[in-house]
Symmetry: C2
Subunit: 318 residues, 2 copies
């Protein structure tokens, strides 16, 4: 059994207090620890509590080029106009090859860089125990404790990872551009069924109405109590952002009236704990050379080998 101290060391308690007082540098350090899987993250997060209720977490996803950063930036502006403090967590898949340096699209956020009530932060998908499914909720918790009332979680690309990240938010906005390519990709990635609102951005392009129609047909096939509305936007001019905000508010109200918010909160926590447990276990699983050779040669089947491996760790067979 891992023994953890009942309270963090004094310097970590001081850091936590600074985060809750709104110190951006302290907050950035905690998120870096989460990102890198630093054990100090746990100790700080343990004492961080949301000061003014839970933050509203909105995920934004879509293919590269769909205009996620522009929509995000327009939403920052809209929530700031309501007087909310807003955080943007931009999640990028990183690679040892590029070192995650390709964040050129973050320039869209420059207009908010000098606003003291806006916090913008990128987070990569390496290093954390349990991957982003486990890390995103921790970063969100830190942002919430720092007093950000709205947290926009922007992800890059569509795919399984994005579905995971989207599930860290109660409300997910899926952004496509006119033309079927993005719609097909989003559908393939299973992202349509997690959408709270579907946005067709760059709605000044031809074929916008065709894409809206295609999406409507796909949404009609989906099951589920919430049927995602489809909003056409031209985020660069702000066109359609008010309607998007209205639909987000409608979804927010539905989360409470339907009891869905509490269900999602528990489901998300279960996913986070499961991902962490698998992450902890993955670190302890070492396939011995001899066992790998037996499987590679076909003398042992991989499921048997997997059972053998689990048995060696003490896992009872199921």
């Amino acid at each position: 059994v891992t023994v953890t101290p009942a309270s963090p060391p004094a310097d970590l308690a001081g850091l936590a207090a600074r985060v809750q007082a709104g110190d951006k540098r302290a907050l950035a350090r905690v998120i870096s620890w989460v990102e890198n899987g630093d054990p100090r993250a746990r100790l700080v997060l343990r004492v961080l509590r949301p000061t003014g209720g839970e933050a509203r977490v909105i995920g934004l996803t879509g293919a590269p080029g769909a205009g996620k950063s522009t929509v995000t930036s327009a939403l920052v502006r809209a929530f700031r106009a309501r007087g909310n403090r807003v955080a943007v967590l931009a999640i990028d898949p990183s690679s040892p090859f590029t070192g995650g340096a390709l964040l050129g699209d973050r320039v869209r956020m420059q207009e908010h860089a000098t606003d003291d009530s806006v916090f913008i932060r990128s987070m990569s998908s390496r290093g954390q125990l349990g991957g982003l499914a486990a890390a995103a909720p921790q970063a969100i918790r830190a942002l919430s404790a720092a007093g950000y009332e709205v947290i926009l979680v922007e992800t890059v690309g569509v795919g399984q990872g994005e579905v995971e990240i989207a599930s860290a938010a109660d409300t997910t906005v899926v952004i496509v551009v006119p033309g079927m390519g993005d719609v097909v990709q989003a559908a393939k990635a299973g992202i349509l069924e997690v959408a709270a609102v579907l946005v067709v951005n760059k709605a000044d392009r031809p074929d916008t109405q065709g894409t809206v129609r295609d999406l409507r047909a796909m949404v009609a096939l989906a099951s589920g109590e919430w049927r995602p509305p489809i909003v056409a936007t031209t985020a660069i001019t702000g066109e359609g952002i008010d309607e998007l905000l209205g639909q987000l508010d409608r979804h927010e109200a539905w989360l409470d009236s339907s009891g869905e918010r509490e269900r999602r909160r528990l489901a998300r926590t279960r996913d986070q704990v499961t991902a962490m447990a698998l992450g902890l276990l993955a670190r302890r699983l070492a396939v011995p050379d001899e066992l790998a050779a037996r499987v590679a040669d076909g003398r042992c089947d991989p499921v048997e080998a997997a059972e053998e491996l689990l048995a060696a760790l003490g896992v009872r067979s199921g």
Copy 2:
């Protein structure tokens, strides 16, 4: 301990014999079992042995629209011209929303549909224990046992899943089109470092030379003993396919001379067994309501909860 029979039931032994005799329907059935996680897959795979040595497995990946199906089809033609029996395993991420029905791009393969020495099969990414990292090697094993000498594994999109699938092949071809978009996406997804050969397809487009130059610069930054060559192709006309084939042969020879083939074989087996062990465990992990509520309320941190969960399964703390 799971008790497995020493030999499969007679009907499964008969099915295995039919697979090894080249019966396509028997082969298709075994791959369906692998795809769906049917336990009979294990029993059949256990007795299937490659008849004429191990198959040559070549992975093909790249963004949608890069022309993967066209390059794959051109390679089928090239290997058929050498007299090889060729299998194509097209791996698509599937979604409960679409039911994996969006396989329109498979039409490129129509020209090979009547060739008895070519086997084409799609496989989706749901249902298998341990996901595609575990399932792809099993499907490859069945294809190899059925006498296919060359197995082309084509994946959709770039992302972590594709890196996993690519690692099921000894030789991976990464396909991009002229213009930086694909190159950046591929780099972000970490796919460049797994490439044996980089293909710039649709080389009749302007900017081909610029893209080749950018790729060369990125490759120069990569570490590793094998520096992937860059081949420009126009797969639709067959332009560049001979050069691609030559580079694939060169990589094939390097795999043996460097000892890399054996290293990869063992590393792949380790990944497969680890993925299966985690898959087995994921099925047994059930986060109790009470524990989820404690974490959601901040009364217990997720790592502690994960340790508690593992302890309940009998896993010794590490």
